[in-house]
Amino acid sequence: MSTPSYRSLRVWQRNRDVFFKLWRTEVPGFFAEPVLILLAMGVGLGTYVALGQSYLEFIAPGIVAAYAMFSASSECTYGSFVRMKFQRTFDAIIATPVNMEDVVAGEIFWGATRSLLTTLAILIVIAAFGLVHSPWALLTIPLSVLAGLMFSSIALFFTSLSATIYTFNYYFTLFITPMFFFSGVFFPLDAFSPTVQKLCWISPLTPVANLSRALVSGHPGEGAWWGLAIIIGLTAVFFPLSLVMMRRRLLK
């Protein structure tokens, strides 16, 4: 096996071009859904929630983290699978000087870029709601890239094992959705007993939501920064794993 080269950029460029050609179909996921959740939960449900701060303010950074996860995960499951299996785009690309490792890395880099774009869009929206009080919030942008690399790597690893596109229903129902609800996006984890709280830290979304909240609220000191080690550690495991597994799947 060889390591990915700069040619992974070519794969990234291909995905970027297609995205900006078809960006209109992505708008609902970008703006509509997060805004709906902010309105329904933050404004609607929030009237009944007493947290010592506005509920809208509490969930906004969580939504930033959660949609960084959704973007990377859907790109590197459904998106990559369609390119790999239905469109045979990977087969076409690896007949050029671009290798399988470049393709896999390019897909992961593109998934991380989707997280970054989504985070940018939501930051603009929550700033318009008046929920951003500190320039520290800008650091959610590099955070979203790290989170995107992690979630893309995990997703592509799962994709390398998936026989059909329907398999991703399991991925989203059993992995992504529980993370969405139990990673401190909608309520603080101290609502749980200490044991359950520890369990919640198994979710890779927990450190992302935690750090996002610390940054957007303007109190970076309150963040559990050791969580970065989880994000980087999981990326360091799943990035090479998805390279090996994709190679094994496609180069027979």
Binding site: R7, R10, Q13, R14, D17, V18, K21, L22, Q87, R88, T89, D91, A92, I93, I94, A95, T96, P97, V98, N99, L251, K252
Partner: protein, 304 residues
């Protein structure tokens, strides 16, 4: 000098041996045809040559370089036309070529010039803004070849490039492929179309069961494995089968059973006697073609 040199190449998928010790030399500038029935190992062999599939045993050199050592360098010099359409449906006709030129690190301006020239050559210039879905089968195939030419490769490998096309498109493609050969491009053509092999190929290899069973120019193969006449006949009655076959054997005829037909190869000076003729209904008689050679050499796997 051989542009492709393969020695003792083996490909195994679990217990299945797809390619079973193949030696192959394709010379620079020739059109080399790889013929064989489905499952003969053509595609497996080609996938190894283009470094898309690991070699189980043996060595392949392309342009003098070992493909397992320098896959990138070799892939930069090969144009691949796959059997199945893998054009990028998210991009237009022109964008497909531009994206490809990027995979080869061709500068943007140069890539655009080549793309437009290739579209012109394949008579697709008017469809450059079309989506892939809007193209006919023949246009897609032309675009696949145009795409393979983006890097100006020394060698183009085509896997059944005219399968499923109407006769007009097939002839147009043959003409384009012949023109490419004129320009000095080496062509490796996998095909099951004997007409195509006969028209385009300088040399042919017939594969069966993972092995190359015959190699030569189309004329040589015909001389070696054809005969002066081929009689296609049916038995007048099934009961006389053993008797007829015994008689054919005694008289030194070669024959083959293809479905319910008997193909009798009549060599120079051989004549069927009346005694034999009476047992047979001769339905047709023709000079041997490449197809007869193919059927004769790949018989076993056709019957499976």
């Amino acid at each position: 000098m051989s542009i492709i040199k393969a020695r003792c190449v083996v490909k195994r998928f679990g217990s299945i041996v797809a390619v079973d010790g193949v030696d192959l030399d394709v010379e620079q500038g020739e059109c080399f045809g790889l013929l064989g029935p489905n499952g003969a190992g053509k595609t497996s062999l080609v996938r190894m040559i283009i470094a898309s599939s690991p070699i189980t045993a043996g060595t392949i050199w392309v342009d003098g370089k070992d493909i397992t050592r320098m896959p990138r360098l070799i892939k930069a010099n090969i144009g691949v036309v796959p059997q199945e359409d893998n054009l990028d449906p998210d991009l237009t006709v022109l964008e497909n070529l531009l994206a490809f030129s990027r995979y080869f690190d061709i500068p943007k301006k140069e890539g655009r010039e080549r793309a437009l020239a290739n579209l012109q050559f394949f008579e697709l210039q008017e469809r450059q803004k079309a989506k892939i879905d809007e193209l006919s089968g023949g246009m897609k195939r032309r675009l696949l070849i145009a795409r393979a030419l983006m890097s100006r490769p020394k060698l183009i490998i085509l896997d059944e490039p005219t399968v499923g096309l109407d006769p007009q498109t097939r002839h147009l493609l043959w003409q384009k492929l012949a023109a490419l050969k004129q320009q000095g491009v080496t062509l490796l053509l996998c095909t099951q179309n004997m007409d195509e092999a006969w028209r385009l190929c300088d040399r042919l290899a017939i594969m069966n069961g993972g092995k190359i069973v015959a190699l030569g120019t189309p004329q040589e193969l015909l001389a070696r494995y054809g005969s002066s006449q081929i009689l296609e006949a049916r038995l007048r009655s099934e009961q006389s089968k053993d008797k007829v076959l015994a008689m054919l054997g005694e008289r030194g005829f070669q024959w083959q059973e293809i479905e319910d037909m008997l193909h009798i190869y009549q060599g120079d000076g051989q004549v069927l006697e009346d005694e034999l003729k009476n047992e047979l209904v001769i339905t047709s008689q023709h000079s041997p073609t490449l197809e007869d050679v193919f059927l004769r050499l790949t018989r076993r796997s056709l019957r499976e």
